[in-house]
Amino acid sequence: MRLKLYRAASVAEAMALVRAELGPDALILSTRRLAQGVELTAALDQADPPEPEPAFAPEPPEAPVAPPPKPLPGGPQGLGFHGLPASLAARLAGPDLAQSLRAALRFGMLPLVRDGPPLLLAGMPGAGKTLSVARLATRLVMAGISPLVITADGRRAGAAEELAAYTRLLGVGLVVACTPATLARALAQRQPDMPVLIDTAGINPFAEAELADLRAMASAAKAASVLVMPAGQDLGEATEQAEAFAPLGARHLLATRLDLARRLGSILGAAAAADLILTEAGIGTGATDGLTPLTPEFLAERIGPSPGPPKIPAPWIPAQTTVPLRKTPSPVTNWIRG
């Protein structure tokens, strides 16, 4: 592990130094406020060369060790491997997969803007809401924008503490607000031009009372809701979940665990069934990076019949989306996409 301390006037500047020197895989271990500026401790753990024969036989592992991850699919298995719903698979049959994806599904940005409605992340327990909030907050801080982060997760033990661990590193404030009334009060603290991220408790969307509670929170915050859904589920389950969340009024979908799931049919099928806009994909466990725009080109590479030559990312163009495009996108929106 290479460990290094960075001092700078702001967290954003210190993070830029970390990335420039240690690269995007660096992990921020701690953040400390100094009289002038901040001190970041960052680390990078390089891959080891294989060990020589040990001088003694190590004890056999006490639990089965997970096999090394297989290469991510795409490749020879093609579309059939991904378990897409038949109707969607038929629409993706054209020669240009990215073009077919663009026509069959909706793609767009997360509606996260400085002066816009708060962004509320909703989903089943364990979907990856908290880590996604942390990643979005990291992205904003690195762009020099300090967001207001609110957690409405009063159910899970340690939920606020988990998010607090990230916000402490980022040097941004965290407000815990578990009822519609406290949430409205928390939002009253919002500074002008300050984007707001709201983490929520995971709910069972098939339980009407839980869904009603979450709706009350979203409506108290006048928030734009985003459905957070892990990839790799059963297609039927994912589709029904996405439809069950419909009363919340979420129009966007943020997919997580794309580094763990090999099949993307459930995410795409759920987005198609519930008419959700595909926005970003969570990849990996680090919070400094790890959200990738979920574009037709990215998906075509993941699910296409052959990997093909690396594609130069095309400028992102939202197709068939009902999201009103801003004539002059705010700096945040620009940055989010870029």
Binding site: M1, L3, L5, L29, A43, D45, E62
Partner: protein, 264 residues
Amino acid sequence: MTVMEHALSHDARPARAPARRIAIASGKGGVGKTWFAITLAQALAADGATTLLFDGDLGLANVDIQLGLTPKHDLAGVLAGRIALEGAIAPVPDAGFDVLPGRSGSGSLAAMPPGQIETLLGALARVPYGVLLLDLGAGLDAHTRRMAAWADTLLTVATDEPTSLTDAYAVLKLFAADRANGDARLVVNQAASQSAGRRTHETLARACRTFLGRDLPLAGIVRRDEHVREAIRRQTPLLTRHPTCHAATEVRAIARGLTNLHLP
């Protein structure tokens, strides 16, 4: 009569549970590892655990120096076959625990072949104590690594210095490779304050969680305390010389945390 004398005064020792093995490592030297091992041994003994402190720093042993002992026998004699392992164990006067001293500057100990260390560990596994503490050397040589992997619990001692954190992480990384579900915990030593100590723990725990996929529980924090240095210079255990200073209190708390969980 020490536990050892008591045990040796009977021809047939009663069958008993094997000692709980606690290894103490740090990677980097000079972070207070040997001092901590001695003080922990005394605290465990005061809590009623029959405790043997084994000086596992094979090339640069100095548990006996810190305790002001002049042992008749040591590990070198055991390995040379001049004396049985039990015969080299000596009581620490007024401290309530026993010690198996090493020998500083012994090239033969440091260069022990792998088969011999297995024999040594086999003998240590049979000593009639409740707790066996292994004070491991700095560095990551094969013997140190083997003894860490052999223990039930690995206590890693670190300070807030980047070099100490990096070396402690290296110890934890090898331990994680050798023991899939091993019990490794952190002792933060020479902390400026409790909150600074917690920060040091969070820093290292985050690296372990992310890079190794392992939790790193905190065994405890020992704040910087001038009494420690004074006791070391006097070659007297801290709990004997300054039993109420805050470092003494904090090591006692760590001992209780260890015994509460696992000792019968």
